[in-house]
């Protein structure tokens, strides 16, 4: 599978999980949505998201490695998961 095809597969799945956790499809429509500033995601929601993404992609994501500033928008979260899935 080429990297492009793989990345195309990752983004929708991340957005599925993100929508499920946040309960809003706004996360699909605005990839630069400020999840924390807009009170869409809080600290517990972030931990829940980490667990759900770990399950969905079968990769181990350690909360202790998550800097919130790098997980602040849907686009950043997709990039972060892509990086981990590729490794």
């Amino acid at each position: 599978m080429s990297a492009t095809v793989q990345n195309q597969a990752i983004a929708p799945k991340v957005l599925d999980v993100l929508e499920q956790i946040t309960g809003t499809d706004q996360v699909r429509r605005d990839l630069d949505l400020a999840l924390f500033e807009q009170n869409i995601l809080d600290s517990l929601g972030l931990v829940e998201l980490i667990v759900a993404l770990s399950d969905a992609f079968g990769v181990e994501i350690f909360p202790a490695e998550i800097e919130r500033s790098e997980w602040a928008t849907p686009r950043q979260i997709i990039a972060s998961v892509e990086k981990r899935v590729r490794v």
Binding site: S43, L44, E48, V51, F62
Partner: protein, 489 residues
């Protein structure tokens, strides 16, 4: 020697020892004693000697501790208010308490800086039966109510915990997770200051950023962990959260909400050298009145976990619907009597008269909590006032929750009423499972419903189950029922 004298004694014995660490800021015992005395002197000059409460609004800054002790050294109780409290609510608190002054960390710093190193005026401290702090909690009508805690109440609580927990003077570091506006923080703050320990505060920004939180925990060197069970549960999601991260932790002290057996079990597994303690008590009876060590045997024997035995100078009884003391195993309202019971709510004699009375010649408080005794141990079974009427059926949500939480595989559960067109429609459950199941949510829901139907009438079975890996938490670290309800909307 009273509490304040004790803290000042530590300042004399070891002035450079750290009393508080918050972020990059530190406060020694010497600084705490000197600055709080300077603030007390300023308060005595600035305010009439009427012992009116002083509001203190901030977060985890060292000036919060200076303000608390400064107020009580000047004879005023303090009202801790977290910085996240909406202004309108702060106004209501200040108005209800008739507080003439609201101190902030910046204001405290300025007052103390102005005082310089000048010898402070003689202090005029609170006496045993004077109010020491007033903590505002939400009232059932939406108006916050202020629980008055005297120095005698606080001393009763501290003396018990100090005798039971066998802390090592000047050697302990206490983790402070709860905001100072939540009385759980009284446990870590004053156990630490009374024993010459160091209080290590985790702040809201740490909690909001996982990497930062675990870095802070790693650097805390904590020996005594004090938090809500929800906070520990959140930390446990990280697999490296263990004795390797916190090698000095010897005690986990929990209060504020139900401790799930799975959380206790995971902690005992990951921290083999640490003890886990469950404690229970409403704000009105000074932080906690019962406690029990949760070890492997307790875990095997009891589901749900007990909340403990009463402290020696207090009486805890369960009263049945007719106000008689319930027999062993019989459910009723938990009533607490003892020197740790608050004199009441500030400016609310009506609410005070409803909840407080005299029992066994001691001040007593109707907790509104359901519970029962088994083998001398108290068990908590939810709130009296979460009673709902659903299609004519009278249902205690605490009852449904207790039955849900008792199911194998369920780590924690919250049950709420789903509204439709302004009327209660059905029950909805939010569930945290112990393990990730290969079954679909539909299949898991079906299995849970079947198991609950073995314990409850069908009208008490939640219609919809929502599965979460953690609950949203309130600022006080409890499961946030309001946010969960919003998820249902």
């Amino acid at each position: 020697m009273d509490l304040i004298e004790r803290i000042d004694e530590w300042a004399r014995a070891a002035p450079e020892h750290l009393a508080h660490v918050s972020r990059e800021r530190t406060l020694t015992y010497g600084e705490l004693a000197r600055r709080s005395a300077a603030l007390a002197a300023w308060l005595l000059r600035a305010l009439p000697d009427d012992r009116a409460p002083i509001a203190v609004q901030g977060h985890k800054e060292p000036e919060m501790l200076i303000a608390f002790l400064g107020a009580v050294k000047a004879g005023h109780p303090y009202i801790p208010i977290d910085v996240t409290t909406p202004p309108a609510r702060v106004e209501r608190i200040v108005a209800t308490a008739r507080a003439p002054l609201t101190l902030t960390p910046a204001r405290v710093a300025a007052i103390v800086a102005e005082a310089g190193d000048a010898a402070p005026d003689p202090v005029h401290r609170v006496a045993a039966n004077d109010p020491f702090y007033i903590i505002f909690t939400s009232g059932s009508t939406g108006e916050p109510k202020g629980v008055v805690i005297t120095l005698a109440c606080l001393t009763s609580f501290l003396d018990w915990m100090l005798a039971e927990q066998r802390l090592v003077e000047q050697r302990e570091t206490f983790l402070n997770q709860a905001p100072f506006s939540f009385d759980l923080s009284v446990m870590d703050t004053y156990l630490s200051l009374a024993t010459g320990g160091t209080l290590f505060s985790i702040d809201k920004d740490d909690i909001a950023n996982p990497a930062q939180l675990y870095r802070a925990l790693t650097h805390s060197n904590a020996t005594v962990w004090v938090s809500t069970p929800s906070f520990a549960q959140m930390c446990l999601v990280e697999k490296t959260f263990s004795a390797a991260m916190l090698p000095r932790v010897r005690r986990f002290l929990f209060c504020g909400e139900t401790l799930a057996p799975e959380v206790a079990a995971a902690l005992l597994d990951r921290f083999p050298d640490a003890q886990v303690w469950n404690t229970y008590g409403p704000t009105e009876t000074t932080v906690a009145t019962t406690s029990v060590r949760i070890d492997g045997e307790t875990l095997t024997r009891y589901r749900p976990l007990p909340v403990g035995y009463a402290k020696p100078d207090s009486r805890v009884v369960v009263l049945d619907e007719d106000g008689r003391v319930a027999v062993n195993g019989e459910r009723g309202e938990i009533v607490i009597a003892g020197p740790n019971v608050s004199p009441g709510y500030i400016s609310r004699p009506d609410l005070t008269a409803k909840a407080f009375f005299t029992l066994y010649g001691m001040p007593a408080y109707h907790t509104g909590d359901w519970g029962y005794f088994q083998n001398g141990l108290l068990f908590y079974e939810g709130r009296r006032d979460q009673q709902v009427k659903l299609h004519g059926h009278r249902i205690e949500l605490g009852d449904v929750e207790a039955n849900l939480q008792a199911l194998p595989g369920v780590r924690d559960g919250v049950v709420l009423v789903k509204m439709k067109d302004g009327a209660p429609d059905s029950l909805a459950a939010f569930v945290i499972l112990n393990d990730h199941s290969a079954d679909s949510e539909f299949e898991i829901s079906r299995a849970l419903k079947n198991r609950m139907a073995e314990r409850l009438p069908v009208y008490m079975i939640p219609r919809k189950f929502h599965f979460l890996s953690a609950f949203p938490m309130t600022a006080n670290g409890k499961a946030d029922r309001k946010k969960l309800a919003e998820m249902l909307a």
